[in-house]
Symmetry: C2
Subunit: 168 residues, 2 copies
Amino acid sequence: MTDRPERPDTDPQHPGTPAGPDPLDTALRLVRAQTAAVKRFDASLGGLHGVSLSDFTVLLHLSQAPGGRMRRVDLAEALGLTASGVTRGLAPLERIGLVTREAAARDARVAYAALTPTGRDRLAEMLHTARQVAADHFAADRWSAEDLTLLSALLTRLGGTAPGQGLG
Amino acid sequence: MTDRPERPDTDPQHPGTPAGPDPLDTALRLVRAQTAAVKRFDASLGGLHGVSLSDFTVLLHLSQAPGGRMRRVDLAEALGLTASGVTRGLAPLERIGLVTREAAARDARVAYAALTPTGRDRLAEMLHTARQVAADHFAADRWSAEDLTLLSALLTRLGGTAPGQGLG
DNA sequence: GCCACCTCCTTGACTGCTCAAGTATATCCC
DNA sequence: GGGATATACTTGAGCAGTCAAGGAGGTGGC
C-alpha cells in the first residue's frame, strides 16, 4: 500500500468527488450490510426457534462435521471466534439439550461438542427458516442468480475462509 | 419469497447438491467477511489512534454532517444503532475531547454531538490509517477496480442505506 | 523419570451493544 | 391553559464476545 498508483479522483486530500471505487467506503458498506443481515436472521431465528444466528451457525458447523461433533478448538477456528467465545456460546446450547459435551478417548484435554438427536431435528427446522430469510433477503426480484454468485465469490475472496461447504 | 421461481438445483428439500448460488451460504460468508474486516480495522485504529472502528465511523459521520454535528437520534439512524448505543458510544469520545455535547436552541430535548477541532484533526489521521487498511484489505494484486466497484454496488443494494457519501 | 514446554479449555474482568423503563421536553386538541 | 400523546435522550440489566491468566493434560529431551 506504500506505493500504490495514485488515482487523482480518489485523492484523500480532495474531498467531494469520489469518482472511483473507494476501498474504505466499500469496507464500511460491508459492515452496514452485515449488521442488517444479522438483525434479520436473529429476529426470525429467535422468534421461531429461540436461537440466535450464531447459535444456528454453531449447530450448522457441527452438523457438517463427521459424526456431528468437533473439538471445541476447531469449532472456534471454523467460526472465527476465540476458544473462550466457544465455551460461552456452547453453554446455553448444552443447557437446552441441543449439544452435548463428549470426552475424547486418546486425549483428556479435548472435549468434543456434539450435536444431539434433538439438536439435529431442531437444526433442520432452523435451516428451513434460515433459508427463507436468506431467500427473502436476496429477493429474487432484485437479485439475479448471477449477482448472487458474484457476491458470494467476492465475499469468499475477501473473507478468508468459507462458512463450511455443502450447506445441505 | 412465497412464489419465487423454483430452481431445481437449490431446492431446500434436496440436500447434498448445492449447484446454484445459495443465498444462505452467501449470507454466512457476508458475516464472516465482515468479522475479519472489522478485526483488521480495530487492530490498526486501536493500535495507532486508540479508537475502535465504530468510534471512527461515528467521527466520520459527524465530519460529513453540516457543521460537523448531528442530533444523536440521527446519528443512531445513520450508524444503524439504537439511541442508547449512541449514548454509550459517544461517552468515551466526549471524555477524550474528540466530540462535545451541544444543546439545540429551539428544542431542549435534543443534544447535538459535535466534532471538536481536536476531533477533526485526529479524524484526519485516523482516516489516513483507515484508508491504508482498506487499501491493504482490498490489495490491488487481488482486487481490480471493477471488482471493487461491483462489490460496493452489491453491498449497497443489500445493506439498505449507505455509510455516508463523499467520504472525503 | 522428570522437567520444560506446548495445547485445550475455562474463568474473571471488561467492552459494546441490546431492550425496557424512566425523565424531560414538545405538540396537539379541546 | 391543560391533559394526552409523541419525541429525544439516559440508565439499569443483560447478552455476546474479547483478552489475560490459570488449571489440567500431553510430549520431548536428557
